[in-house]
Amino acid sequence: MNWLARLQHLDRRIIFLLMGLSILIPVLFPLPMSFEVDERVQNLYQAVERVPPGSRVLISADFDPSSRPELEPFFRANLDHLFRRNVKVVVVSLVPYAPGLVSPLLRVYGERYHKQEGVDWVYLGFKEGKELIIKAMGANMRQTFPTSYAGVSIDQLPIMNGIKQLKDFPLIVMVSSGSPGTKEWVVQVQAQYALNMVSSCTAVQTPDYIPYYKAGQLLGLAGGMPGAAQYEKLVGVPTADAMATRGVNVLNLGHAFIILAILVGNISYFASKRREP
């Protein structure tokens, strides 16, 4: 049992190596597994399904390179879902690192679905101000974003005809990785304007937003890569494009390794305690 106690002092480089292998092996040798869809993701999907074709949906795309693996797949699947249903998309960003990721994706999906910029979709870009901008959008969208990311006046964009405030959108989708994000949207504008909102967030934030979902302030919630994978399954994203589905199968071994590390660490700890007088 002496070796068990000595495990506590295992060189952490070995732990790093094993962690790296637990991620690398499923990437090189995929082992897909089936998964069920959560009620929260199911409700998110249904909320999007209820938006009539031809309507406009606002997406607040607030992810950056660090949260990209968890949130970009949802954003892509959401664009698939909305464009397939001929729903028009207005996208804004409240974090400064989002435009570099969001703008190219919108162009790709706009071309894929033969959607015209300014008519079927528009990216209004990033605005500094965090919660202030959310509040300002709630009061006056046109004053807050007077031009699009491409520099076109909002009055010249057919997609923005008749849009004055957030409540003119039948649904708001939040793809958020931190602050400002889902919490700020719910706190600042959801109750005041009785907005319909759904959210995709990082896995770490999901427990924080479950109270909002349970209270009905969020109609649906997709948490992290598993949530995005479930949404991809519902939308029917082709396997080649289903980034989250591929990613979540990589997480299998990673999570199993973390659990193993916790178990072995605790066994080693109790073994060392038993040896002490």
Binding site: I15, M19, Y97, E128, L132, N140, P211, K214, I258
Partner: protein, 214 residues
């Protein structure tokens, strides 16, 4: 006057903005909309202030070769280089713009790498620090293990293979929906009450720490 005028501004603007939630009249909202627009302008100006502050703090460290001056130099080179790329090379939304290059091939991979490193440190922490030293810690660890394995397909596959039903997923969802929800609600309500109290103190001029000075 130096502290009185900011206090007056705080009181007036604070009361106006609180009133916006309760007063639906459009004339009132015209005033508050303008205040929100001013706030957005001030927030954008604060970015410039932050930039100046960054230079003020780090240039002396580089100049007098204080501790870690090399890292500060790299940071300043990155800062100035990105600024030049942004000002000179055209709008970042354009694929050929230098700022687009800096974002896509420098910032983006670095940001992703920094975040990815966390996974390794979490693995190390899981092995070394997550100890079931008492009953509460043991309960926490058990819940953490159930949620971790329940969130990935492996969990439901294991549960179905062993029990012919996804018990793990059901327990995981119960943990998230019941005890987690209860705890989070308590935290949210506590934090919200604290924010209301602090906001009231600031609006009424009782709390003056935001004005700075003594």
């Amino acid at each position: 006057m130096k502290r009185t005028l900011p206090l007056i501004i705080t009181v007036v603007i604070g009361i106006l903005m609180v009133g916006e939630y309760f007063i639906p009249h459009y004339r009132y909202h015209l005033i508050t909309n303008n205040i929100l627009e001013w706030g957005a302008l001030v927030a954008s100006a604060a970015l410039l202030l932050g930039l100046v502050n960054l230079l003020q703090v780090n240039v002396p460290v580089i100049r007098y070769r204080h501790q870690d001056w090399g890292y500060k130099l790299v940071m300043m080179v990155g800062l100035v280089g990105s600024l030049i790329a942004g000002f000179v090379g055209g709008e970042g939304r354009l694929d050929y713009a230098p700022s687009h290059f800096v974002y896509s091939y420098v910032f983006s991979p670095l940001d992703a790498t920094m975040f990815a490193l966390l996974g390794f440190y979490i693995a190390s922490a899981a092995f070394r620090a997550f100890r079931a030293r008492n009953l509460e810690a043991a309960l926490l660890l058990i819940a953490a293990v159930i949620v971790m394995i329940g969130r990935v397909p492996l969990g439901s596959a294991l549960s179905v293979a062993l029990f012919d039903y996804d018990y793990l997923g059901r327990v995981m969802n119960w943990i998230m929906d019941v005890p987690n929800n209860a705890g989070r609600r308590a935290l949210l309500i506590g934090a919200a009450l604290g924010a209301v109290a602090t906001g009231l103190r600031i609006i009424l001029g009782i709390e003056r720490s935001h004005l700075g000075g003594d």
